[in-house]
Amino acid sequence: MHIVDGALAPEVLIGGGVLAVAGLGLGLRKLPIDKIPATGVLSATFFVASLIHVPVGPSSVHLIMSGLAGLVLGWTAFPALFVGLLLQAIFFGFGGLTVLGVNTVNIAFPAVIAGFMFRGLVSRSNPTFAAIWGGCAGALSIALTTLFVAISLGLSGEGFVPAAKLVFFAHIPIMAVEGLVSAAAVYLIMKVKPALLMADARISRYDAQSPAILAEQVNEANNG
């Protein structure tokens, strides 16, 4: 999914960079100081997702979970996923610096779109239907990401078009797997802690945490 440095045309790189800066600006404006720790921890969780390998056929792929990131974080998924990509680019050498903008747009923008499309549906449904919508969000975000990757390759030269098509079709099983895993994750979250997927409810929880909730937290198993 990462595009490397040197493959894309300069126009695509600049366009991606501008879009990424715009998205980052919007995302950071929606990020109050109070939510920086929570967003950072969630961003780290989505980074860890990319370290989890899932078998697909004879090979394995790593999870991306960008659909779930969009559901949980909304616009702030943009900076959260950007940070992950930046760290991957700098410390693992995946992708590069000049394509960072394009890669961020390709991964974070679908996440935000999927988040906004399915957020309301997920928060209003019972766990089973929420899982279905969550699965749709997960599959859709991967589909859009591969589409965006194909578009950025296609815009950079005629010769890339067959490769772009190949990338798209090769990712269809990955879309299915991401959808299934996201559906299961949403199902569990709706059973265990639905507040995570109710964006509006969560903000009010920060402002006024009732003693009952605090007592509940004390009783919960302390995991570190």
């Binding site: 790189l13 780290a44 895993v181």
Partner: protein, 265 residues
């Protein structure tokens, strides 16, 4: 790979570095970060294979001035090359141009082959130079550097939190995975596997949010007001300026030569 972000990592920004840093590592990280960015932009704008190759050798030379372990670096480069190999192999066959050779009835064009080679060299040059220039820079150090380079504070804080919790959550993931293993879970191509891994990730999210709430409360207790004091001793010395100017000159020479000097084939 999360060990890179381990919390027991020596913070070179705190103690001035326990081990003696390499030649490249001895320069101000701000200069190195900017130089890495400049170099990538320069390499991406090169059109001729000869100059891209020269840039790649410049990156190799820089690597030998660092204390990067050679094998690990080559492994990382190979991982990166794995991403693009399919595209590079396909490119000669899909670009129209003068035919060079045929494989199974598909014609490979000279232009396509040149383009593929150029992309491969450019990608490797950028990654190698970035790994070399930023060698020895810890993620926390990178955060401080970006802050000093006037990146938005919210973004830097977000990055610092992410860096801090990646290793913690990776440990948490291993704990959950261990519990699954004890119960006989084996990853296969089955719905059961995907559902179990989904539950695993969902649980990871729930726990991380609960952790985030505790973290926020603890921080509020300590009077967090949205700003971290950045503890670092970044000093911009004369040799950093020299390094910057030298690097800028190298980059400009590459770009100018690439534009005006055409190597005859």
């Amino acid at each position: 790979m999360s060990h890179l972000f381990g919390h027991d990592q020596p913070l070179s920004v705190q103690g001035g570095g326990q081990r003696p840093s390499s030649f490249v590592g001895s320069f101000d990280p701000r200069v190195r970060v900017v130089a890495a960015g400049l170099f990538s932009v320069m390499v991406v704008s090169l059109h001729q294979i000869e100059f891209a190759l020269a840039a790649f050798f410049a990156a190799v030379a820089t690597m030998f001035m660092t204390d990067l372990p050679l094998r690990l670096t080559l492994k990382r480069m190979a991982a990166m090359d794995g991403f693009i190999i399919v595209m590079l192999v396909m490119l000669p066959f899909t670009t129209p141009g003068t035919a060079m050779f045929t494989v199974l009835g598909a014609e490979a064009s000279k232009e396509g082959l040149q383009h593929a080679v150029l992309i491969g060299i450019r990608a490797n040059a950028v990654v190698l130079m970035m790994l070399s220039l930023l060698a020895g820079l810890t993620p926390v150090g990178l955060g401080h550097t970006l802050y000093r380079l006037r990146c938005p504070a919210a973004l830097v804080h977000l990055m610092m939190f992410t860096v801090r919790y990646i290793s913690v959550l990776h440990d948490e993931y291993h704990r959950l995975r261990m519990a699954m293993k004890l119960r006989g879970f084996k990853a296969r191509n089955s719905i059961h596997t995907y559902r179990s891994l989904g539950y695993l990730f969902g649980m990871l999210l729930v726990r991380s949010l609960e952790r985030a709430e505790r973290v926020l409360e603890a921080m509020k207790c300590r009077g967090f007001s949205g700003h971290f004091p950045m503890i670092d001793h970044l000093v911009f010395r004369q040799r950093d300026a020299l390094f910057g100017v030298g690097f800028l000159m190298l980059v400009s020479v590459f770009v100018i030569l690439d534009r005006f000097y055409v190597v005859a084939y």
